[in-house]
C-alpha cells in the first residue's frame, strides 16, 4: 500500500453515467489486476474504492459509474486536478491458475478490472474470452477495447437492445469450452455465474468499506477458509471458498 498524489490526465464520459479517468502518479505498489485504489475527494469523509482498469507505466485507468454524490463530484473533475490515492489495495486476481482458455465475465461496473486481467492473461499466451453484461445498449462500454486486445468478446444486455438478450449466463451456451472463470459484478450475477460455470474460478466482491486497507473490519465476509476482509484478503475469492449469504 502507498499513499500518493495523482494528477488527472483525462476524465471523460464513455457510456450512460459511466466515466473513464486516467491518472498519473506513482503506481509501483499496484502489482496485480483485480486490486483497487481508494480515492480521497474534497468534501467527502470516506475514500472511494475503484478497481484498476488498466495500468501503463505511471498511468492508471479507472472506470466509474455515477451512483451517488461522491461519484457525481468525480465526474466534474478536470485534467490537471490532483487526487490523493491509496494504491496497491487488495489481493487481486491470480493468473497462474487459469489454464489455457480462461473466460472473463463482467457485469456493469464490474467490467473494468477484467480489462487489465485480459491483458495479463494474453501476455501469458492464453486464449481469452469475455462475456460483458449490461442493462441496456447506452450503458455498454469497452467492447471495442476488449476486441482490440484479441479477446473473443460477447455482449449481453438485459433488455436485448444490444448484443445477446439476457444476462451474462445466457451467453454461456454460445461459448465453446473454457478452462477457468474470472468474474466481477453485482452479487446476484456472481452467484448465477458460480452456479452455471462448471470450472473453478475467481470472483471479485464488493462491500462498503471504511479504510480499504484492513484496519476497521468494516467489510468482513465469511468464507470456507475463515473470515476475510474484502479489502485485504479479498476482493477476489476463489470459487471453492465462497459462502453465499443469501
Amino acid at each position: 500500500m502507498k499513499e500518493s498524489i495523482f494528477r488527472i490526465l483525462t476524465n471523460k464520459q464513455i457510456a450512460h453515467d459511466t466515466y473513464e479517468m486516467i491518472l498519473r502518479g506513482n503506481t509501483e505498489h499496484i502489482t496485480r489486476p483485480g486490486q483497487f485504489v481508494n480515492i480521497k475527494l474534497d468534501g467527502f469523509y470516506l475514500r472511494r474504492p475503484f478497481s484498476v482498469c488498466d495500468l501503463e507505466g505511471d498511468d492508471l485507468t479507472i472506470i466509474y459509474k455515477v451512483v451517488g454524490s461522491g461519484t457525481e463530484k468525480m465526474s466534474t473533475l478536470v485534467p490537471n486536478e490532483e487526487l490523493n490515492l491509496l494504491t496497491g489495495l487488495g489481493n487481486g486476481y491470480d493468473t497462474k491458475s487459469s489454464g489455457k482458455a480462461p473466460l472473463l465475465i463482467g457485469g456493469g461496473a464490474g467490467v473494468p478490472p477484467l480489462y487489465w486481467l485480459a491483458k495479463e492473461l494474453l501476455a501469458e499466451g492464453k486464449q481469452v474470452s469475455a462475456i460483458l453484461g449490461f442493462n441496456t445498449s447506452n450503458e455498454v462500454f469497452y467492447e471495442a477495447q476488449f476486441k482490440k486486445l484479441g479477446v473473443s468478446t460477447l455482449i449481453t444486455t438485459a433488455d436485448g437492445s444490444y448484443g445477446i438478450q439476457g444476462f451474462v449466463t445466457d451467453a454461456l451456451t454460445n461459448l465453446e469450452s473454457f478452462s477457468y472463470t474470472y468474474a466481477c459484478g453485482p452479487e446476484p450475477m456472481l452467484k448465477a455465474v458460480y452456479d452455471a460455470a462448471e470450472t473453478s474460478g475467481q470472483y471479485s466482491f464488493e462491500e462498503r468499506m471504511g479504510c480499504g486497507f484492513g484496519a476497521c473490519m468494516g467489510c468482513t465476509c465469511k468464507t470456507l477458509y475463515g473470515d476475510k476482509r474484502i479489502c485485504r484478503e479479498g476482493p477476489v475469492l476463489v470459487k471453492e471458498e465462497i459462502i453465499w449469504q443469501g
Binding site: 471504511g210 479504510c211 476497521c216 473490519m217 465469511k222
Partner: protein, 304 residues
C-alpha cells in the same frame, strides 16, 4: 522530545498520541507504512472472551464530516489474541500497549482482562463499557453509574495493571459515571466512544447499516467529545484519555486544554493512515505557535 511526554497512570508516554481501539487493528497494517514506535502507545482491537464475527454488512456508512460503523466487536477471541496477535504485534511495537477489553457479562470482562493483564507487553487494560453496536454487552454496562462501578470494581479486584474505563457518550450525565468508575478503583477514564446514529437510503427506503444503527465518529463529534472531557475533568482526579474526532495537532492541544492527559485518534486513521505519525511530527511546531513549551503544562488548561 521531552516536551511531548505525559504520564498516563504511572507509565511515561513519549507523546500523548494513542490510536484508538478498532481503528488500528493490532498495529501491523500501519507498521507497513511507518515505524509505529513513534506513537505514545495504541489501543488494540476490542477483545472478548470468545471469537466474534461481528454484525452483518454493510457495517459502514458516511455522513457529513464523519462516518458510522456497526462492526460489532469482530475479534478472534482472547486466546487467539494472546497466541497469534500479540506475538506478531511484538515484532513491530516495542512499547507497552493498551489492551481494550469488552464483554457480555461481568464474568467475561474479568476473565478477558485477567488473561491480558499477565501479558508482558500489556501496559494498561482499557475496559470498553461503551460499544453501541452489540446487544446485551458493551454499552449496557456504561449507561448507569451503578453498573459501571460494579464491572470496574470486579475487574479492579483481579488485575494489577492500570485500569482505564472507556465511557459512552450516549448518556445524560457522563461525569456521574466517570466518578462512579473512579470510586470503584479505575486508574483512568477514556472517552468518548461513538455516538449512536443512523442513515437511511432514499432509493431503497432502508437503513444504510444492516444493524440499523451504528456509532458516529470523525470530526463531526469533536465538540461533543470536548464538552464531555471537560465535564469529566471537573468530576474526577484520575487522568483522562480524550478522543472523538481528533484529526490534527491543533485538535490534540484543544483536547488537552479540555482536560485530557493523552489523546486518542480514531476514525482519522482510516482516512489518512499516516495521520498519527504526522500529528506527532507537527505537534512541536503547533506548540511553538501557541506558546506551549511543555504539553504537560496545558492539561486542563482551559479550566482556569
Amino acid at each position: 522530545m521531552a516536551r511531548l511526554t505525559v504520564n498516563l497512570c504511572g507509565i511515561e508516554l513519549d507523546n500523548p498520541i494513542i490510536p484508538a481501539s478498532g481503528t488500528f487493528g493490532f498495529g501491523y497494517e500501519f507498521a507497513e507504512l511507518y515505524d509505529i514506535n513513534c506513537l505514545g502507545t495504541f489501543s488494540f482491537k476490542g477483545t472478548t472472551k470468545d471469537p466474534r464475527y461481528g454484525n452483518p454488512t454493510p457495517r459502514i456508512a458516511e455522513s457529513a464530516s464523519g462516518m458510522l460503523n456497526a462492526v460489532g466487536l469482530q475479534n478472534p477471541g482472547v486466546e487467539a489474541v494472546i497466541s497469534e496477535e500479540l506475538p506478531k504485534m511484538r515484532q513491530v511495537f516495542d512499547k507497552p500497549v493498551m489492551a481494550n477489553v469488552s464483554g457480555f457479562s461481568i464474568d467475561e470482562y474479568v476473565y478477558t482482562a485477567s488473561r491480558l493483564d499477565v501479558e508482558e507487553q500489556v501496559g494498561w487494560i482499557e475496559l470498553n463499557i461503551s460499544c453501541p453496536n452489540v446487544d446485551g454487552g458493551g454499552v449496557a454496562f456504561g449507561t448507569s453509574p451503578e453498573m459501571a462501578a460494579k464491572v470496574t470494581a470486579a475487574v479492579r479486584a483481579e488485575v494489577k495493571k492500570p485500569l482505564i474505563v472507556k465511557l459512552s457518550p450516549n448518556v445524560t450525565n457522563i461525569a456521574a459515571i466517570a466518578k462512579a468508575c473512579e470510586d470503584a478503583g479505575a486508574d483512568g477514564i477514556s472517552l468518548i466512544n461513538t455516538l449512536l446514529g443512523m442513515r437511511i437510503d432514499l432509493k431503497t427506503r432502508q437503513t444504510l447499516l444492516a444493524n440499523t444503527t451504528g456509532g458516529l465518529s470523525g470530526p463531526a463529534i469533536l465538540p461533543v467529545a470536548l464538552r464531555m472531557v471537560w465535564e469529566t475533568y471537573k468530576a474526577v482526579k484520575i487522568p483522562i484519555v480524550g478522543m472523538g474526532g481528533v484529526s490534527s495537532s491543533e485538535d490534540v492541544i484543544e483536547m488537552m486544554l479540555a482536560g485530557a492527559t493523552a489523546v486518542g485518534i480514531g476514525a482519522a486513521n482510516l482516512i489518512d493512515p499516516y495521520i498519527c505519525r504526522d500529528i506527532i511530527q507537527t505537534l512541536p511546531e503547533t506548540m511553538d505557535k501557541y506558546g506551549i513549551s511543555n504539553l504537560k503544562d496545558i492539561i486542563g488548561g482551559a479550566h482556569g
